[in-house]
């Protein structure tokens, strides 16, 4: 009963945020002259209306889920990983190149590419963690800035040494991976691929990790009060290193499944332009870093985007309506985030005065 009540109260805030988001969207829609209800109905159809739309929503959500899970793991341990984008891009390019140049059968290439993608993302994140542990470089800043290096480096790889020269168009992209190394599609003719299943399984695994393991316990406590963790003998540096490594590996995996499951090559800018990493961050914030909640929020945010595409096809409301709703969401959620941050700061100050 008590627990049920707690779960419910933790849902109230995101639900209010959603309501306000849709309210803001309604105002924007009414400006275009389209009836509001009709517009939202079109949006729903565009996102979930039939198997095709449903599977494309889920396909779009796949990298967002994985990114969100990685970010939430870091958040739960009290560390910021704003570098998911760079980790994802490096993972993607590493996976693409491994699948292209690894000798062996298709399945060997596939597995090697997935491993390479996770390792690349993980190591990139580890670099920031190491700088924090060794030189006290603030993670918030280092992870954010490492994004630029990663994106530009990946861009360089596919414009210079590994550029696809077979096609007629002079795009900055790698060659296409052979079909044997692709992630299988879940339904013939639909875009949804095995990466989605992987993402859901990982979400469940993370939930179990947090709830039932020694490491999960130490991670949560480190996030809730690092001094208490230190006092209790938890090795915080180890927790941070492991969390950042996993967080980066999941971001790398997000890039990997996009390459192996839907694009079959690394195309410069194809992962950064849709803002997957930032949508993943939003899913995490919306779900307060709960892995299963993050998964649901990621699907929702993906649906918002695919739904808006449907809306644009059938009415004169432009695609950008999803940005309006998202922006209102961000505003509201970050308000809470800032509020709790300020509250904590204030409490720390008060506690300091009592001593």
């Amino acid at each position: 009963m008590k627990q049920w009540k707690q779960t419910l109260s933790s849902l109230i805030h995101p639900l209010i945020a959603l309501l306000i988001g849709f309210l803001a969207g309604a105002i924007a829609i009414s400006v275009t002259g389209t009836p509001i209800l009709q517009a939202y109905q079109e949006m729903w159809t565009g996102a979930f209306g039939n198997l095709y739309f449903l599977t494309s929503t889920l396909a779009r959500s796949t990298p967002i889920i994985l990114l969100g899970l990685g970010i939430s793991l870091a958040f739960r341990s009290g560390y910021f990983n704003l570098g998911a984008e760079g980790q994802m891009v490096l993972g993607a390019v590493a996976a693409a190149l491994t699948a292209l140049y690894m000798p062996g059968s298709g399945i060997v290439k596939l597995l090697a590419a997935m491993a390479a993608g996770m390792i690349a993302g993980g190591l990139w994140s580890l670099l920031a963690a190491w700088m924090d542990a060794k030189f006290k470089v603030n993670l918030l800043i280092s992870t954010l800035l490492l994004n630029y290096i990663a994106s530009l480096f990946a861009g360089y790889l596919v414009t210079e040494p590994f550029k696809d020269t077979t096609g007629s168009a002079a795009l900055a992209q790698s060659r296409m991976i052979e079909q044997g190394a692709w992630l299988p599609k879940l339904f013939a003719g639909m875009s949804l691929h095995a990466g989605f299943v992987l993402a859901v399984v990982i979400a469940i695994l993370l939930t179990l990790l947090l709830r039932y393991t020694v490491f999960g316990y130490e991670l949560k406590i480190t996030g809730q009060n690092p001094l208490f963790a230190a006092y209790g003998g938890v090795n915080r540096t180890r927790v941070m290193i492991l969390c950042m490594l996993t967080s980066g590996a999941l971001a790398g995996l997000a890039g990997t499944v996009e390459v192996l499951g839907s694009q079959y090559r690394y195309i410069d800018g194809s992962l950064t332009a849709p803002g997957y990493a930032w949508t993943g961050l939003m899913a995490t914030l919306l779900a307060n870093s709960n892995p299963l909640g993050t998964t649901i929020a990621a699907v929702f945010l993906a649906a918002l985007q695919t739904g808006a595409m449907g809306l644009e096809r059938n009415t004169n409301v432009p695609l950008e309506i999803s940005s309006v709703i998202q922006a209102a969401l961000i505003l509201f959620i970050s308000a809470r985030f800032t509020y709790s941050f300020l509250k904590r700061r204030k409490e720390e100050k008060n506690n300091g005065a009592t001593v």
């Binding site: 039932y212 809730q224 003998g233």
Partner: protein, 502 residues
């Protein structure tokens, strides 16, 4: 004596919860009236109502017989009520005079008249015999002086009724003595004083009358001269307190040996200056000292939270100097931290998650990295029963527990480690009398089992009740060792303030 203030049948409800239930009390002119009660008894709520920070659900306030209603503190101040808060509200970078006159500054046309301010404040301090230097910066003053500034601020605003909220919590024993003398002086000059506290010895020393609150009700109104500490504490707690008895017991072998521990400070003054002592099995060694004289650093060094520059620490003959917290704990140390919110708990986490810290690593409670939840639940439920911890469930967040209950969780956890050595820091700070007695008994039981306890406390009475030997720290050094049987409070106070051992 004339009655200056009456609070009649004051009731304050927060939803279902009744913080004050028909509380009536009268304050006479020129008396010191103590309001005592455990945490949560309703003292603070009652004073917030009087000071206009809260509105009563029902009941009336009369000053000199005239009914008053205070919508905010400014109106209360206008009626001659002043409050000295527990946490000082001063600007450390400004002078004493500036802090006192703020809000009501003397002016020369539109300019602030600093000379006049200093003169007025000086005269005020002279009149009420509160020695201060008006031109000094508040940040440079010791806490005792800062408190005098707070009192002067209230007097400057023309207060006839002065409320002091736990005024001695932050003071050294000598400063406490001075404060009590000051309060008597103010009362003699016709000021009426309401003293909120839970330190009964101070109450008996200074108060004329005592109102005791328990669970939001008045359980007694007494003349201080006709009552005893025992009677007041019985009214506060609602039952007889047994008191702690220390049976004589032969101490065993040294269990903890600290040799010339040294930590360099940032400003050239060492934080720990070659500290040496030992704790034997079957004894409690108390470390007395005013906060900030190296006790925190000593504790952090012993527990592995702060690296030391020189010296060694041996626990059960094994060197643990500069080892990790985990290694030191495995070597046989448990630790009740001095600040339960900062170090001792994660308040967002559940009671269970807070209680299992350290235990979660033991073979008994995990298998291959998977926690054995059922066994952990049993462990914590056992403590909740045996320590009488009030919580709605294991999943309840720690921040919902009262200070005393949370402290019991910490004590249960650390005593539950069943280590040969326990480092107990401020084990009863901010805890009510009932919980305090319970925790003291736990520490005493541990000693009687032949285990060793190092007790670090700024509460002298705690040190004197529990310890077999007493060490006094001053400016990072151990400046004296006393036998608890023969030591007097005066001796210890003197050493704490940096005096020589007599």
């Amino acid at each position: 004596m004339e009655t200056i203030l009456e609070m009649e049948r004051i009731t304050k409800k927060y939803g279902q919860f009744t913080a004050n239930q028909e509380i009536s009390f009268a304050l006479r002119e020129g008396e010191i009236h103590a309001i005592v009660g455990e945490n949560g008894a309703g003292k603070t709520t009652l004073m917030r109502i009087l000071y206009g920070m809260e509105q009563p659900t029902s009941g009336t306030i009369r000053i000199h017989g005239a009914e008053k209603r205070f919508a905010n503190p400014a109106e209360a101040i206008d009626s001659g009520i002043g409050m000295v808060h527990q946490h000082f509200m001063l600007f450390p970078s400004r002078t004493i005079a500036e802090n006192i006159v703020i809000g009501n500054e003397p002016r020369k046309s539109i300019w602030f008249d600093r000379k006049q301010a200093i003169a007025q404040v000086g005269a005020l301090a002279e009149r009420f015999r509160l020695p201060i230097a008006p031109g000094q910066k508040v940040g440079d003053c010791p806490l005792g002086t800062q408190q005098r500034v707070e009192i002067l601020k209230v007097l400057y605003n023309g207060a006839k009724i002065i409320i002091l909220d736990e005024p001695t919590a932050v003071l050294t024993p000598l400063e406490v003595k001075e404060l009590l003398i000051t309060l008597r002086g103010l009362a003699e000059q016709g000021k009426s004083i309401i003293l909120i506290t839970h330190k009964l010895h101070e109450v008996m020393e200074v108060a004329d009358r005592i109102t005791v609150l328990r669970n939001g009700r008045v359980t007694g109104q007494l003349e201080a001269s006709q009552t005893t500490v025992e009677e007041v504490s019985r009214l506060m707690v609602g039952r007889e307190l047994d008191g702690i008895r220390r049976e004589t017991q032969q101490a065993g072998q040294p269990l903890l040996q600290v040799n010339r521990l040294f930590i360099r400070g940032k400003k050239g003054k060492p934080l720990l200056d070659h500290v040496s002592f030992h704790v034997r099995s079957g004894e409690i060694v108390g470390i007395a000292g005013i906060s900030g004289n190296g006790q925190s650093e000593l504790v952090q060094a012993l527990t592995g939270l702060l690296p030391v520059d020189e010296g060694t620490v041996l626990l059960q003959g094994k060197e643990i100097t500069n080892r990790s917290v985990k290694q030191i704990r495995e070597a046989g140390l448990a630790h009740i931290p001095e600040d339960r919110y900062l170090w001792g708990t994660a308040k967002e986490a559940s009671v269970k998650d807070n209680a299992i810290m350290g235990h979660h690593r033991l073979k008994e409670f995990q298998r291959g990295g998977i926690l054995r939840q059922r066994k952990l639940d049993q462990l914590v439920t056992g403590w909740i029963n045996s320590f009488a911890i009030k919580t709605s469930s294991l999943a309840n967040k720690a921040q919902n527990l009262s200070g005393g209950n949370l402290q019991k969780v910490i004590v249960a956890r650390e005593i539950g480690h069943a280590t040969p050595f326990l480092l107990a820091c401020e084990p009863t700070r901010g805890v009510d009398i009932g919980a305090m007695e319970f925790i003291h008994q736990q520490l005493m039981d541990k000693r009687n089992r032949g285990e060793a306890v190092l007790l670090v406390s700024s509460e002298l009475s705690e040190i004197m009740t529990l310890s077999d030997r007493i060490l006094v720290m001053f400016e990072g050094k151990v400046v004296g060792e006393l036998n608890a049987e023969t030591a007097t409070e005066e001796q210890i106070s003197l050493l704490m303030a940096g005096g020589k051992q007599p």
